[in-house]
């Protein structure tokens, strides 16, 4: 599992990147759970610990090397040698677009303060 933090002041992210950690995950653990153990945050909306993950919102999509499309981190399980990138430009584009699409259907007044 690799994590390439960007921008100044994110020493931790850079250190993780430098090490390019090889994560170990159990076969019954999802990518999002394994990432969390390694201190890597993956954005998510419909996933909640303790509830069955369905992978519907697609806010947690990550890039798995060799796969044609992105994978939902909340309900994908590890395989030997699997290379997962949580914050590639491709993954982040989709993660952001999912939020933008959902937000675009919410009336402005319901998420902003009225003065």
């Amino acid at each position: 599992m690799s994590h390439t933090g960007a921008g100044p002041g994110r020493d931790h992210a850079h250190r993780v990147h430098a090490q390019r950690p090889r994560g170990v995950g159990r076969s019954d653990e999802t990518i999002i759970e394994i990432a969390k153990r390694y201190g890597i945050e993956i954005p998510h909306l419909c996933y909640k610990e303790g509830m069955r993950p369905d992978g519907n919102c697609r806010a947690c999509v990550v890039e798995v090397k060799g796969e044609r499309v992105l994978a939902p981190a909340c309900c994908r399980y590890p395989k030997d040698g699997m290379e997962v990138t949580t914050d590639s430009a491709r993954a982040v584009t989709s993660q952001k677009m999912v939020l933008e699409l959902l937000l675009s259907d919410i009336p402005e007044k319901s998420y902003t303060l009225a003065f």
Binding site: G55, N56, C57, R58, A59, V61, V69, L70, R90, T93, S94, M97, V98, L101, L102, S104, D105
Partner: protein, 133 residues
């Protein structure tokens, strides 16, 4: 072609296989022969457009179809098809935004419907730019 019509464009693979101009009408129809043109054979249901049709009109029709057929399970397909339709109903298209939206639909949708839904509009951007400028 019927009397008074000239071959203008065609859909090589049903609703989601993309749209190609008549000048590319001699590409062999087979698996993997259309990929390099951003199209695929899909259901192999070929649809022919004449010079009295418009690729943009076909794309609007197809995206509306995908929007209505989307099961609604995942965000990129459910909301993406609806937003794509709103964007391409305009006379001029926001190409950068459509490409960004299409990428997320292709990469993050659960199934083939959402993943292939942007194909018609991407074909218009690629092969029929004069219709949307």
């Amino acid at each position: 072609m019927a009397d008074g019509h000239q071959f203008y464009a065609y859909l090589p693979g049903g609703a989601s296989g993309g749209i190609l101009p008549a000048t590319m009408g001699d590409i062999p129809l087979d698996f993997d022969t259309l990929n390099q043109y951003g199209c695929f054979i899909g259901s192999a249901a070929i649809v022919i457009l004449s010079d009295q049709d418009r690729a943009t009109a076909a794309a609007r029709n197809l995206i509306r179809f995908f929007s209505e057929e989307s099961c609604g399970q995942c965000t990129p397909c459910r909301v993406g098809t609806a937003k794509a339709l709103r964007l391409i109903e305009k006379p001029t298209w926001d190409q950068a935004l459509l490409k960004e939206l299409s990428q997320a639909m292709m990469d993050a949708s659960i199934c083939g419907l959402g993943q292939a839904a942007p194909n018609p509009l991407l074909s218009v951007l690629k092969y029929f730019p004069s219709e949307i400028s």
